[in-house]
């Protein structure tokens, strides 16, 4: 976490307020996730069975406020004060993986009632069993990363060696 390590990783020297701002943003988001009830898998599962539609208000409300933030920043502001980077929206290219990933995530979310951010917050409200879920997420992320690195290596290798 030293500055030297950052530089060797290719990132530029950070503004001294960079990490404090990340902490502040995380604290606010974590508080909001706990306050909203999203850190409780039961509340999410109630939404998925139409017993309590509150999750729509959380995700929808957050999306609307984020939409306003992105609009204001990309329209009226130039560059971010701490990094000098231009403001952009969150755009990702559409491909088959977006659909496949959505379906796999949907099955997992429907089984467990947890998603990454809410799971971190769940640990904060003392919900120790959520460690099962967080461990599962790391294993899942590892499996897909291992598999995708493999197929990339195989694709490169098959150009020269055909086995």
């Amino acid at each position: 976490m030293s500055r030297g390590a950052d530089a060797s990783d290719g990132s530029t020297d950070r503004h001294p307020l960079f990490l404090p701002l990340v902490v502040l943003g995380g604290l606010i988001q974590g508080f909001g996730l706990a306050y909203s009830g999203m850190a409780r898998p039961e509340v999410v599962l109630d939404f998925l069975q139409f017993d309590d539609l509150g999750l729509i208000l959380v995700m929808g409300g957050a999306a609307v406020v984020s939409g306003i933030t992105f609009f204001v920043a990309t329209t009226f502001l130039d560059r971010a004060p701490l990094t000098g980077d231009r403001y952009t929206r969150r755009m990702r290219s559409m491909d088959r993986n977006v659909a496949i990933g959505g379906v796999v995530f949907g099955v997992g979310w429907g089984v467990s009632g947890i998603c990454p951010g809410a799971a971190y917050a769940s640990l904060g409200i003392g919900n120790l069993p959520i460690l099962w879920g967080i461990a599962g997420m790391f294993i899942g992320a590892y499996l897909q990363g291992y598999w995708r690195s493999r197929i990339r290596t195989d694709a490169a290798a098959s150009v020269t060696a055909d086995d």
């Binding site: 701002l21 509150g54 701490l82 640990l123 409200i125």
Partner: protein, 163 residues
């Protein structure tokens, strides 16, 4: 007439609506604080992969952009835990322990880990920031994961699994 409709709508919110709206705005506020300062749109599932780079040599986890952001993503996730604890353990004391069974948390977590990483985002990245950016890619992903999760949770409940 309007009162009747409102009353009917409130049947879908047995826990009320205030905490959902306030929590959702706070989730967006946490994102906005970091975004306005740095132009970074902080998702929550990338943390899983960037953190794996500390313990794995798999090439996917060791991409330059991951190595450059892995430290602040750890700080961000820990801050989410701390922010949630501020509400769940200090202001509204009494730790919450889920009754959702460990196998659901773990098995669902594995699929969440795989799906969010293949699909390029999670509830925060696609559901809040992507929808807030009016991204069609995110809309496709969100419709799929919410729809599949509703079906999955309904099937799991129909099989008699509670909670």
């Amino acid at each position: 007439m309007i009162e009747g409709a409102l009353e009917a709508a409130m049947a879908f919110f047995p826990r009320g609506t205030t905490q959902y709206l306030v929590g959702g705005v706070m989730v967006a506020a946490g994102i906005a604080v970091i975004y306005l300062g740095t132009a970074i749109i902080p998702g929550n599932s990338t943390f899983l992969e960037t953190t794996l780079s500390y313990v794995s040599k798999v090439s996917r986890f060791n991409r330059p952009s991951y190595l450059a952001s892995r430290d602040w993503r750890v700080v961000f996730a820990l801050s989410i835990v701390a922010g949630a604890a501020l509400w769940g353990l200090v202001l509204d004391p009494g730790p919450f322990v889920t009754r959702v069974q460990p196998w659901r948390l773990f098995g669902g977590g594995v699929l969440v880990g795989i799906g969010t990483r293949i699909g390029k985002g999670c509830t925060a990245g696609h559901g809040v920031c992507g929808l807030g950016s009016a991204s069609v890619t995110s809309l496709v992903n969100v419709v799929l994961f919410v729809g599949v999760a509703i079906v999955t949770a309904t099937v799991v409940a129909a099989l008699g699994v509670t909670p």
